[in-house]
Symmetry: C2
DNA sequence: ATTGCATAGTTTGCATAACATAATATGTTA
DNA sequence: TAACATATTATGTTATGCAAACTATGCAAT
């Protein structure tokens, strides 16, 4: 699907960026936040999430920082960059388009309420 | 995304099954129908569509049949099987769940109208 | 103490999706 | 006959999503 499938593949990144846009988080926390904020519908396994974070960091869409809290393990906190915010806006717009297209194809049967 | 990403990868198949559920079509026709019925938002390249059709046929979700129209080329018409209809229903339900989850994460920003 | 559990992160390797691209072939139109 | 739209097949690349194994640490119960 032309640009839409890039979007589809990109759905995990967008979700991550969206959640990080509300504040920094570390990987493990993120994986739980995704579940919680999606009503337990979306789940990212660590085998997906961590490599994804490395990839987002390499693209400078997020930035990671090790933090040594006393009385807890070392954690790598990720925060969204300004470049990441731009990307998020773009991808959200595409996601809107995609769901619009799907609704056309499926006759609106996807958003019942 | 647990079962959701299977879904995501499966978005092209669902679209194809949905359109075939309204009547048989051949590949080239399908690729155009997808564009038209999605308001030019969704596009499947032939490098994606044909292999997908072979795959769906191998899974017995669709069934292909060569037809020799006079005054036109040989075309392979695909129709959805009863197994395919069952699969379509399942995947539509998952698609509904997915969009629901996305709407939760994005605060409903995906279905503006 | 040590066992077990939840947390936290890394890495490897697999299956497959989506795609571009090229090759092949045919009917229609200029 | 050249160009174009139609129609299908095939090849190779890239990247995703994932499971699973591995390393580590803090905490709680026994």
């Amino acid at each position: 699907m032309k640009f839409e499938s890039q979007l589809l593949k990109g759905i995990a990144p967008v979700v991550v960026l969206e959640i990080l846009s509300r504040g920094p988080m570390y990987g493990y926390e993120l994986s739980q936040a995704i579940e919680q904020r999606s009503g337990d519908i979306l789940t990212l396994g660590k085998g997906t999430l961590y490599p994804l974070l490395y990839n987002l960091e390499a693209k400078k869409l997020v930035k990671g920082k090790w933090e040594n809290n006393q009385s807890s393990r070392k954690r790598r906190y990720y925060s969204i960059t300004s470049k990441g915010k731009g990307q998020l806006a773009k991808q959200k717009a595409q996601l809107r388009e995609l769901t619009a297209g799907l609704n056309l194809v499926f006759g609106g049967a996807l958003t019942p309420a």
